[in-house]
Amino acid sequence: MILTNLEIVPGRRVEKHLGLVHGSTVQAKHLGRDLMASLKNIVGGELKGYTELLEDARAEAVERMKAEAGAIGANAVVNIRFSTASITAGAAELLAYGSAVILAEG
C-alpha cells in the first residue's frame, strides 16, 4: 500500500479513483501520565509520554485507513491528511483520511 500526501504517485498512472477512505481512533491518556504532565508543566519541555501516546494512536488511525483502502481493492492512498481533535478532557481523536486509488502496474 503506497501512502502519500501528493496528488499523484510519481511515475505511476492512476487507473481508478475509488473515493474517500479514513481511519480514526479515540485515545485517552491515563491518570499517571496526567500527573507527570502536570509536573512537567512547571518546567516546560516535551511531554514524551503524550508524544508517544499520540504517535501510537496516529499509527493506529493510519492502519485503519489502510484497512479500509485494502478492503475496497485499492493499492494506494493519495492526498492523505491528518487531524487531531480533543473529544473530552483527556481524550483525543486521531483521524487520517485520503483518496483511495488503484495504480496501474509498473
Partner: protein, 154 residues
Amino acid sequence: MSYIVDYYEFWIFVWLVLTGYVAGTYNERRHYRSIRRREKELKDVLAFAVRTLPAGRPYESARLVTGSAVISVDYFKSILAALRKVIGGRVDAYESLVERARREAILRMKAHAAEEGADMIFNVKLETTRVFQGERSAAQSVESLAYGTAVKSA
C-alpha cells in the same frame, strides 16, 4: 429501606446509567440503520480527497458543499469513557460516536451536492471538534464537518 433513601444520589446515578445504556444502544442502532439506508440512496454522488478534476471534461459549475452533524454521547458511554481515562488507552465507547458523526456529515455533504445537481465532490476535507468544552457537567458531544467542492459535468 433507609439505605435507599440515604443514598438517593447513588440510585439516581444507577438509573441514569441504565437509561443511558438502553436508550443509547437503541438510538445508535437506529442511527446506523438510517445511515446505511441513506448511503445506498446517495451512492451515485462520488466523493474524493484529490484536488484535481478529471482531465478532458468540461464542467458546468463548481460549488462548495458542506455537511455537519453534532452527536452526543449517552450517560452510560460517558461513564465508560471516564473510567477508561483512569487507565488510559483506546476509548471504544467514543469511536462509534465519532464514526456516526462523520458518516452523517459526509451524507449531508453529499445530499447538499445532490441538491445542487452535482455528482462528484473533490478535495473533501474532514474535521472533528468538541463542542461545549470546559464545564465538567456540560454534555459531551462532537461535531463532525465534511466539506468539498461539488462539480457538475456539462
